[in-house]
Subunit: 367 residues, 2 copies
């Protein structure tokens, strides 16, 4: 039985071959540069895909939340990093992980460092996150006193250990000056490393974001790279030039529920609760919530005539269909949709189906 | 112990008193008009909240998906309606529900009616959905032949039973001409009822959407009303004039992880995976992903000085904070966020915590 016959309702498909190729390519690139790849597992959120990653020499991962760190705990990772300004209400959960597993967190203020120093009962490392310049989060260059206050908490603690500096240059997602932004981040990390290496001889610097890590081939003195989305890629990454549509490793299989040939529209069972609502803007100003691929026995293919999801609501999507697609599609058929933002789609769906019909796990996320 | 001490991570709070008041107000209004209220349970997605609803005489509900219908099956509802153009790949699941429970679906084309007539082994009613004029879904006035083809499938079937006509005038969400749109929908339903009542003497008409049902007080000959969002309301409904902020029955409790007094910003653990990414636009053109309320022992309160979530990413949110909020908040505190779109937030979170510390259930949704 083909996996297609298993599908009655919207289902997130994963192509293991493409996923492995993405993992291998990034692992080889980073290794060739003599650096360590610590992928951000917020995209895949999977133990099984984690086991694939380990085959390419990946030994540490990054989690987006303590729930995900709990899910990945005890799965053979040398260390798990929670790349989020630590929420001190979660110290008891952190201690439970740290009792079993190498773990690090991220700190951006002295209040958090103090609460950790007081509340930890197990060894926990931390990165100080530096502001990448787009004002989301992180210590700024002018906050030298705050940084010293953080480090002094760690210096006096039995359990809280300073590991190094981290930058997530998330503004590369706005698609401008990826090279320039990455270079600035590298330089900021190099400067901090030069300044603090004598006090902390083992400190490392880590830089993470898929557009930068995919496009660039030179990372200066940075020790570790932490991209996430590259495991699956998505249409946003295609637009940013990080990959091609052929590199996208997941697609949402959706049933066709109505066809309107007069309007060249196909109504699908697949909406905001499945895809999330991330959107790209087409050249003509119209919206694009995902692009159609054709599903086959063991693969999917990108049609030469483009069809895309032009609007979505909670459960519905409307596809603007090419003539070629309209000529062949019937009510009850399945179509595939390449997602705009694969991290969010995977988080909505909560599991994957492989093209040989196996369920692949995904953490429960916010639930 | 207050519910507040239970919270370490982002948690969706529900105020039972506000929820019950919203249910009671709509139930009384619809009953006074001599009509039947069949609320759309895609918002609450909860068995417990369903039991509250039954106390106000509500006996039928609407589901957004077959998964939700399965979740609500056997909970004492007279009938469950799946308000989505039926996906024929789900006929086996539909038969399993129909063996236990009154159930209806929605049909917009003859291909679907034919598949149902051929595949049903239990009695299932259906509404024909009429196009409300905003082009998402439904039979159009010009599609008389298609409608006849649907009805003839039912006429010849032992199990597939025509129940009536349904309109969801979702374009009232665009905030213009709610009264006019509702009136057009009422008239379209009345026209179809007049035309088909002699053939189907028990046929009913149903109209559903919260803005229209909340704002209007006259629904003509429509038999049944099916709003959903009114159970919780949200900031979008406040903007549409359906309710006030005091009527919003859910808020997301989020831990404060950093404070930037120089930028008047508070970084919270609460992002797209918790709130969803629905957004309103402030008067000055800036974005609003939710508004801050203050959490107390047994309630929350709306501060006189507004603070709002100005940007979100997967796990983070940045609050544009009032001076009053900045003066009192500390790292590790909890804030409440009134959601922009409560249906999506509840779907992301997957459960509620009541203000007396009880977990209230929510269906698994897409998962």
């Amino acid at each position: 039985m083909s996996y297609l016959e298993q599908i009655a309702s919207p289902t997130l498909l994963i192509d293991e071959k493409i996923t492995r190729a993405n993992l291998k390519k990034m692992a080889n690139k980073v290794q060739a540069l003599g650096k360590k790849l610590v992928p951000h597992w917020k995209t895949a959120q999977s133990r099984t895909i984690g086991n694939w990653a380990k085959e390419y020499g990946i030994q540490e991962v990054t989690a987006s939340s303590i729930s995900l760190a709990e899910y990945l705990c005890g799965q053979g990772w040398d260390s798990i990093h929670i790349a989020f300004p630590f929420n001190i209400r979660e110290i008891p959960r952190l201690n439970r992980i740290a009792a079993k597993q190498g773990i690090s967190v991220q700190v951006v203020n002295a209040a958090t460092a103090k609460a950790l120093a007081e509340g930890l009962t197990e060894k926990v490392e931390f990165f100080v996150e530096l502001d990448a310049g787009y004002g989301r989060t992180g210590i700024q260059e002018t906050q030298e006193a705050e940084l010293e206050a953080i480090l002094s908490q760690a210096d006096g603690s039995e359990f809280l250990k300073f590991k190094g500096f981290y930058i997530h240059p998330g503004h590369t997602y706005y698609g401008k000056d990826t090279g320039k932004i990455h270079l600035e981040s590298q330089e900021a990390l190099a400067k901090m490393k030069a300044k603090y290496l004598h006090r902390y001889p083992n400190l490392v610097t880590r830089l993470g974001d898929t557009p930068g890590c995919a496009v660039r081939s030179e990372f200066g003195e940075v020790d570790e790279l932490g991209p996430g989305n590259f495991v699956f890629f998505d249409l946003m990454q295609v637009q940013l030039g990080s990959c091609t549509k052929e590199d996208i490793a997941v697609c949402l299989a959706v049933p066709v529920v109505d066809i309107r040939k007069d309007r060249k529209e196909i109504l699908i069972h697949g909406g905001g609760v499945h895809l999330a609502k991330d959107v790209l803007i087409n050249e003509d100003g119209s919206k694009n919530f995902g692009e159609i691929v054709m599903l086959h026995e063991k693969s999917w293919s990108i049609p030469s005539h483009r069809s895309f999801v032009k609007s979505i609501s909670q459960e519905h999507g409307i596809v603007q269909a090419s003539d070629e697609l309209l000529a062949s599609v019937q009510v009850g058929d399945l179509l595939g949709i390449l997602p705009v933002h694969s991290c969010m789609t995977a988080d909505c769906m909560g599991s994957y189906l492989s093209l040989d019909g196996q369920v692949v796990d995904h953490a429960e996320g916010a639930r």
